[in-house]
């Protein structure tokens, strides 16, 4: 039996790089998604490096310089009702909001992935019970559910993150369940089972890596959602507590000074909108990039 004949057929080699490049191409062609990434990088840099470059501490109270308007003094974005530098607070708030966004996303994705994978892999009664649970959770308007929990706990960065994660994993679970369900019918999953692989091995090593694309898309949108949710809870007063700033509670505080100091409401709102829009754009771009049908 001649081996050279078959090795000659490796003409198709290099296809993976091609395929991957095509996804990257598709993503790069999505100008808004690229702009979204640039914006997020910018925001992260500003929020995590910026405070070191400012001469003001976000918590330093200077009651004599309260309500300084923006763009006229050393306080570039003005000061708040206690005379704290608005820009410094905005950046520190960004840290909190972005951190909550990412942390809640990671937790939600992990939870959703595990539940979705278990439901999709085992199917049957377990799968049905888990997915009905997912359906039921989705019936609750998210803010109602989040507030109901948030109102009864100790508000703090960690607890808020957990609450957001606990109420936003369902989409991920649905995506993963559908993926795993179809993947586990594929022969390579059967092969893995035949090799004596444990369920955990099959789910996490064989199947999940093949579902990573849709999970990444869901994760990106989840960050956007988590940032938005944090701002909602904090705005309604059940979220991050002072003096720690978050974009949501800055807006909450700004509400009563709408006439006197409208800039206090302007900047945090803009920051939230920009961050959330960016993540939504990235998610959109990723979705397109991972969908080969859109190649033309």
């Amino acid at each position: 039996m001649s081996h050279s004949a078959t090795t000659d057929q490796l003409i198709t080699a290099g296809e993976p790089t091609l395929q991957r490049n095509r996804a990257i191409d598709r993503f790069m062609r999505h100008k808004l998604a690229v702009a979204g990434i640039a914006m997020i990088v910018f925001l992260v840099l500003v929020c995590f490096v910026g405070p070191y470059l400012l001469p003001f501490d976000d918590l330093f109270i200077d009651i004599r310089h309260r309500f300084a308007p923006p763009f006229v003094s050393v306080h570039v974005l003005g000061t708040d009702p206690l005379g704290r530098d608005h820009l410094a607070r905005l950046m520190m708030a960004g840290r909190i909001s972005l951190t909550i966004g990412f942390a809640a996303m990671i937790m939600a994705v992990c939870l959703g992935t595990v539940i979705g994978a278990v439901a999709g892999y085992y199917g049957g009664v377990i799968g049905a019970v888990l997915m009905r649970f997912v359906d039921a959770m989705l019936c609750f308007p998210s803010i109602f559910l989040i507030l109901a929990i948030a109102a009864f706990i100790h508000p703090g960065v960690i607890s808020i993150t957990i609450i957001i994660a606990l109420t936003s994993w369902m989409e991920v679970a649905r995506v993963v369940e559908a993926q795993i369900k179809s993947l586990r019918e594929r022969d390579f999953a059967v092969a893995a089972e035949l090799m004596g692989g444990s369920d955990r091995y099959i789910i996490f090593r064989e199947l999940l890596p093949n579902a990573i694309g849709p999970i990444v898309v869901a994760a990106t949108l989840n960050v956007a959602n988590a940032i938005l949710m944090e701002s909602y809870i904090s705005f309604l007063g059940y979220g991050i507590q002072p003096p720690t700033p978050s974009w949501g509670n800055m807006l909450n505080n700004a509400q009563q000074y709408l006439q006197k100091a409208p800039w206090l409401a302007m900047f945090p709102g803009l920051a939230i909108t920009i961050a959330v829009t960016s993540f939504n754009f990235i998610g959109d771009g990723l979705r397109d990039a991972l969908d080969p049908r859109l190649d033309h």
């Binding site: 078959t6 490796l10 022969d187 004596g196």
Partner: protein, 336 residues
């Protein structure tokens, strides 16, 4: 039947599925496999042929315990594995492997060839010394006609035939004694089919493993198998050594299958036997002999009872009540 040389004995294997919703329209029973018995010797290649839907793949997968059988028994390598739990099955899995029909879906696209071949080793804790696994991977790749350099590549970088070789290499990685080859070449180009069949034969000779070769292509089966079992609607209707079956089929369904196979040798002139009607729905199989609705030789008695598998000559069994038939064989001649 159960001699020490037997690696596999299957008795009255049944696999039924239910479909439909629990609440509405009631559940329906599909008898995909309905009483199959056979045994295989070490090193033997047994062909399992039949139209699609006849249950041959289900037989293969049930034997491998990919799903639990409804009833019957499976004895593998002297051990009853019919009702073993998954954990108990794990050590046995090392001895039984499978080659899949579709070389595209049977390899995890996210793993390199090297990872594909080492993961069974890792699972079973084989070749644990450093470097041993790479060596083993190289060995396996060489064995199936690829080079060690291919280990770093991903499955989609290969052609269908090459992928099937990788699939075979993976099956062989744990040094099994029994292989189920589920239509391993039917998805491949004809030119490549021959290469893969040749490879399987070569491996069988070198490693001496038993192969259950599932196919609908009689030519390939005839080429590779020692014995052949013909399945129809979940049952074996005829089982015989290859030569005997090809020269003198005894079941009307075997005759019809032969007549429908494409002819490679232009000298052979076969009368084409058209089977009337579709294969009956397994949801509602005919009473008695399930082939009777499409059989040219049908008698009223055929509807009475399921005909048992009877031994006509040593090693040649069939399930048909009519012994008075003279049927056309592979070469288009009427067999005595």
């Amino acid at each position: 039947m159960n001699t020490p040389r037997d690696i596999l004995t299957v008795r009255d294997l049944k696999k039924h599925f239910t479909i439909g919703s629990m609440l509405f329209g009631g559940r329906k029973l599909v008898k995909a496999v309905d009483g199959v018995s056979f045994s295989m010797q070490r090193g033997e290649v047994l062909g399992l042929v039949g139209e699609s839907g006849s249950g041959k793949s289900t037989v293969g997968r049930t034997i491998l315990r990919l799903s639990p059988p409804t009833s019957g028994s499976i004895n593998f390598d002297g051990q009853d594995i019919t009702n073993l739990r998954r954990s108990a099955l794990r050590p046995i899995r090392r001895k039984m492997q499978m080659v899949f029909q579709d070389p595209f879906s049977s390899l995890n696209p996210r793993m390199t060839v090297g990872e594909l071949l080492t993961s069974p080793l890792k699972i079973h804790g084989l070749s644990t010394e450093p470097g041993a696994r790479q060596k083993r991977v190289a060995e396996l790749l060489e064995l199936v006609g690829l080079s060690a350099a291919h280990a770093a590549r991903f499955p989609h970088e290969f052609s269908g035939g090459q992928r099937q070789r990788i699939g075979i290499a993976r099956a062989l990685a744990v040094q099994p004694e029994f292989l189920v080859a589920d239509e391993p070449v039917s998805a491949l180009d004809v030119s490549i089919q021959a290469q893969v069949v040749k490879l399987l034969l070569e491996i069988r000779e070198r490693l001496g493993l038993a192969i259950l070769f599932i196919a609908h292509d009689l030519a390939v089966v005839g080429y590779i198998c020692d014995r052949i079992a013909v399945m129809y609607l979940g049952r074996i209707v005829e089982i015989a050594p290859t030569a005997a079956l090809f020269s003198s089929p005894r079941h009307p369904y075997s005759e019809a299958l032969f007549s429908a196979a494409p002819v490679a040798d232009p000298k052979v002139k076969r009368q084409r036997i058209m089977l009337t009607g579709d294969i009956p729905s397994p949801l509602d199989p005919p009473s008695g002999c399930s082939f009777r609705t499409r059989c040219r030789y049908v008698l009223p008695e055929c509807a009475a009872a399921v005909p048992p598998l009877r031994e006509l000559t040593p090693g040649h069994f069939k399930a048909c009540i009519r012994d008075d038939l003279t049927l056309q064989n592979w070469d288009g001649k009427l067999a005595g």
